[in-house]
Symmetry: C2
Subunit: 347 residues, 2 copies
């Protein structure tokens, strides 16, 4: 089984290296790796954030382990050359439409949240975010209005096929968890949301065992602060999912701990920490690698069918934390490699 | 001076009645009132959420005091007949483009937030939200894709004139506060945001004394949970402002306390609590009227040039709270009218 390793920018190479050590330590038969350039690193080396060679590795691989992209040196570049295009391009080219972001508090870290401990410790939710459509991928550009003003525009849209496939993913995830699905939209203003809501209601007929509710996105942003424990699975579109999943991750407190998977229809996936490339601490060996280690566990479970090995990684991370492993973001002093050591010791 | 009173749906009539009592108690010379139907109440009475007679009152008035709209009886109606169209229609017809939502914790209520008290008590921010453009008012509808799928779409856009006028409002507000402006967009994905960012940077040249920063909306949603005390003025578009201002209000803890103003270029404004119509407790005399009372204070200050009278109302509300006035949402047992009594007693 081929794993594409795309470390990317900033702290990406450091954290991916630790995840690779953990994977190696499991001694899984038949895992091979190919490394590729993405993001600002790729632009600096070959002039494009997602070079054809990288895309080729991604297409051949069974799963992609991704670090992070984002580099201040690229701020002035034209949009199609910016680091973010690597992740957007991979999502689109490989049809990776189902972004899964679980948010759950590790008991040892409940104090790290800005929320009161009794509010934060109740969080156990999964955001299912669509990542192939919405205002991200519609026609966009600049034009001049009748009055001669410069105008920027982006077309937001969803069609029923796009909504249906992600809705099935959401309902199935809810069924495998606590059976509650909250679909988030802005149907009181947007026709894109009205279509979304109509299709989610149609798909719900196939899942009579799942309790479906609908919430406007402004209310959802309030409820995620007021009482995040009320949510099981949140199903939403690309733009609202971007906002709410980052908000939810911060409610958990330690963004350095949160993993994500983005799957296509065949179960191939891209796995990455939800945090960014943190250019301010890049190369200093300070970054917390656990979100990437946990992303590797998700990869074993979802794309490689190795659930038992995924469990081993997750248990080792929990044990390392219980044993006091703390990087700077968790209020401790351990570096990236020491955190990796702690997980390896716990394995 | 003519004030349009639009109580609307749900708890709207109860809370507006208390604000009117407080205004009456100030004994301001020359204030007159005309009441109008809006929202579901208007649809039930005359078949439209924003009848021409109501719009006429709004146009003649110097300011509008608005309760809330939203009625579950209207859920199945076509979009143009739904209660929300009243507020969207008033914003558009009167050119009310500058929505100001201050969020600050009353010391007596710091415990009400889901955030840790030390995080919540640091909140003192103002969201300046554009409310005449963005994906709210662009072309929208349903169409069929080449594959025959139903599709919903909404065009998001901003032109330089729209951004410029709200940006000036944001910079002026920052200048009158702590001199910090954070502009929130999603310029790494949206051309609408790129135009927004470019124009904000141009306008910044007129305000060298204001410290400008830019933040992506996903990061802003995180930072509002992690460390809301970092913000002074947040400047943003219609959609992101909708989400972030509701989120910020919940960080404060007591959404029943937060007032808002929406101004046009001439300083005419619509004043409303940021909470909704709360149909579940409508007509029971339980709702907290303080957000509406505080909205009336904003109205005196911004549209009627009566700053001293506004100060009196705000001081009376603070005194009522210090004296123990608590409605159910604040953990107490006082009803809507008793809360009004407490403010009157403190005046
Ligand atoms: C980097 C950016 C384009 C991306 C997004 O908006 O999807 C990121 O914020 C994410 O959530 O993965
Ligand atoms: C009722 C709705 C259309 C409105 C909006 O989205 O602007 C409301 O949420 C608000 O923030 O005033």
């Amino acid at each position: 089984m081929l794993i594409a390793l795309f470390p990317g920018d900033g702290i990406g190479p450091e954290i991916v290296a630790q995840a690779k050590r953990v994977l190696d330590a499991l001694g899984i038969d038949g895992l091979t790796y190919e490394e590729g350039l993405v993001g600002g690193a790729a632009w600096k080396a070959v002039g494009h954030p997602l070079p054809p060679e990288t895309l080729d590795i991604a297409k051949r691989a069974d799963a992609i382990l991704f670090g992070a992209v984002g580099d201040p040196d690229c701020d002035g570049l034209e949009r199609h050359l910016r680091p973010e295009q690597a992740i957007l391009g991979l999502r689109k080219e490989l049809g990776l439409f189902s972004n899964l972001r679980p948010a759950k508090v590790f008991p040892e870290l409940a104090d790290a949240s800005a929320l009161k401990p009794e509010v934060a410790s109740a969080i156990d939710l999964l955001i299912v975010r669509e990542t192939n459509g919405d205002v991200y991928f519609g026609e966009k550009g600049f034009r001049t209005t009748a009055e001669g003003w410069r105008e920027g525009y982006d077309i937001m849209s969803y069609n029923e096929a796009e909504v249906r496939r992600i809705a099935h993913g959401g309902f199935q995830a809810a069924r495998a968890r606590r059976g509650k699905l909250c679909s988030v939209d802005k149907a009181n203003v947007l026709e894109t949301s009205q279509l979304w809501r109509d299709v989610v209601i149609e798909v719900a007929k196939d899942y009579p065992d799942v309790a479906l509710s609908h919430m406007y996105v402004d209310n959802a942003a309030m409820q995620l602060v007021r009482d995040p424990g009320q949510f099981d699975v949140i199903l939403t579109g690309n733009l609202f999912g971007d906002i709410l999943s980052d908000q939810a991750s911060m409610c958990v407190g330690s963004i350095g701990m949160l993993a994500s998977a983005t799957l296509n229809a065949e179960g191939k996936g891209l796995y990455e920490p939800i945090h960014g490339s943190a250019p301010d601490i890049a190369g200093q060996g300070k970054a917390n690698p656990l979100a990437t280690v946990l992303s590797a566990a998700m990869m074993l479970r979802y794309s490689l069918g190795l659930g038992a090995e995924a469990d081993r990684i997750e248990a080792a991370v929990a044990r390392a934390l219980a044993g006091g492993a703390r990087s700077a973001d968790l209020g401790g002093t351990m570096g990236t490699e020491e955190m990796g050591d702690a997980v390896l010791a716990a394995l």
